[in-house]
Symmetry: C2
Subunit: 269 residues, 2 copies
């Protein structure tokens, strides 16, 4: 299964939750500290508990890079452990001049074997293009992020009367000739989603901002349903993986994702 | 010496060349392949040959990440080998939501021991702020890049009649309360530099685009001289480290940087 098949398969089965493995040693259950590699053990338990219900796993590279080469080993081992029919998103937010972006594409797609990556569009087309060359991988490009800083530049208004993020989305639609583009669109404000969903066309949509960041799950899913746009993933990280700090954290994570799926399916059916 | 002292020291001594260690196994001299770690050996030779003349070293993380955890070891060993009085720029172009940017700051400043980092501003202030908290490190934030894609979004015109990149630079000046901000500004078009240099105030300026990318060294240096802005670094990568593919590549690199310094000093004196 390639990345496109994996995401389509997940979404058609109404598995819209992307589990964010943003694993922080300070936040995992203390009893894991006796393990050789507590972070890897934590990730494996979360994967074992949620794989049946997850649409994707997203690993934010920062959480692993901060531990240096050893952290990157844990990242790789975690990715290798994820069942091969589930989409793996390397949340790396990369982007550089063309010949350098080629290297990043190799790093994330070939070396870490991710199905998909997140990209920063600031530097424009030639910073994105080397990733799009991987026709069986998905590139989720930042459009509107869920943080307060999105006001600084993403929401600058251009002389065309559009937000910068809207200009970015327009360009992504043009660049999407291989049908392997996705976007990152913050789920913190349902109105923004509503106003922009008609321009998301056949882009895959990854939405951070639900869960710990407070986005309104039901409104968001309702908007996708109404727009008949089914290829979306809602990322849940802290609210799922740290829902329980006892030895039962795996079982609790499983219950949390089942509950999310129920809520979502009620709206979509 | 902290990062600020290192860059000020380099610039006051008219060492404005930043050596870009964008080391690619396909481009290094073939005779190095008999070494245990050809890339590390290449980097050490370049450093030995140029340290006396270099204002900084810049390592683009992509070139090392593409080799996975082992590549990151080479990156770390290279950084450790650079003399402690010379600025090390981790060219990582990072940027993420606040709690994640904290992790990237730890990775690049603490774990890889870089003096400085390059950052992507798209996500706004809270994606940059965790890096600025490191008061003795320098954050070079992308303003105008040297690639063709800079036309896509960096040069969108806002309703204020400014380019997006100019709005970014204005904000960086506001954020620069610890005097530890720098900017990346492409050196491919001297006119653009001339039009914007008065807004660079007390920002450190890192300029890619000279050398293989074809920027006009003499015009660029002349503009800084005229503006009485001395805190700038010109990155040279391919045109310096790959100037010679024989066993003499170290000696040739030394001659190249000496020649650049001569050209620059002639203009500045």
């Amino acid at each position: 299964m390639n990345a496109i098949e994996k995401i389509l398969n997940a979404c058609i089965n109404n598995k819209h939750i992307c589990v964010g493995l943003d694993t922080d040693i300070k936040k995992i259950p203390k009893f894991l500290f006796s393990e050789d590699n507590p972070i890897l053990k934590f990730n494996k338990t979360i994967i074992d508990s949620t794989a049946e219900y997850a649409g994707a796993y997203k690993l934010n590279f920062a959480f692993y890079e901060k531990d240096g080469p050893q952290g990157l080993e844990t990242l790789k081992q975690t990715i290798d452990y994820i069942p091969k029919d589930i989409l793996v998103i390397g949340d790396a937010k990369r982007g550089d001049i063309g010949n350098t972006s080629e290297m990043y594409a190799k790093a994330v797609f070939d070396n870490f074997n991710c199905d998909s990556i997140t990209l920063n569009p600031y530097m424009g087309y030639d910073s994105i293009q080397p990733f799009l060359e991987y026709k069986n991988k998905i590139s989720f490009i930042l459009v509107l992020t869920s943080n307060t800083g999105s006001n600084n530049f993403e929401k600058l208004i251009t002389k065309n009367g559009k937000y910068v993020f809207q200009e970015v989305m327009e360009k992504i639609n043009i660049w999407n000739t291989n049908s392997n583009c996705g976007i990152v669109f913050g789920a913190t404000n349902p109105n923004e989603l509503k106003e922009n969903i008609s321009n998301m066309k056949n882009l895959f949509v990854l939405l951070p901002g639900i869960g710990a960041q407070g986005g309104d799950l039901e409104s968001i899913v309702g908007i996708f349903h109404e727009a008949n746009h089914n290829n979306f993933l809602l990322n849940i990280s802290r609210a799922l993986i740290y829902a329980d700090s006892t030895e039962n954290f795996g079982r609790t994570a499983k219950q949390v994702i089942i509950d999310y799926n129920k809520t979502i399916n009620k709206i979509l059916e």
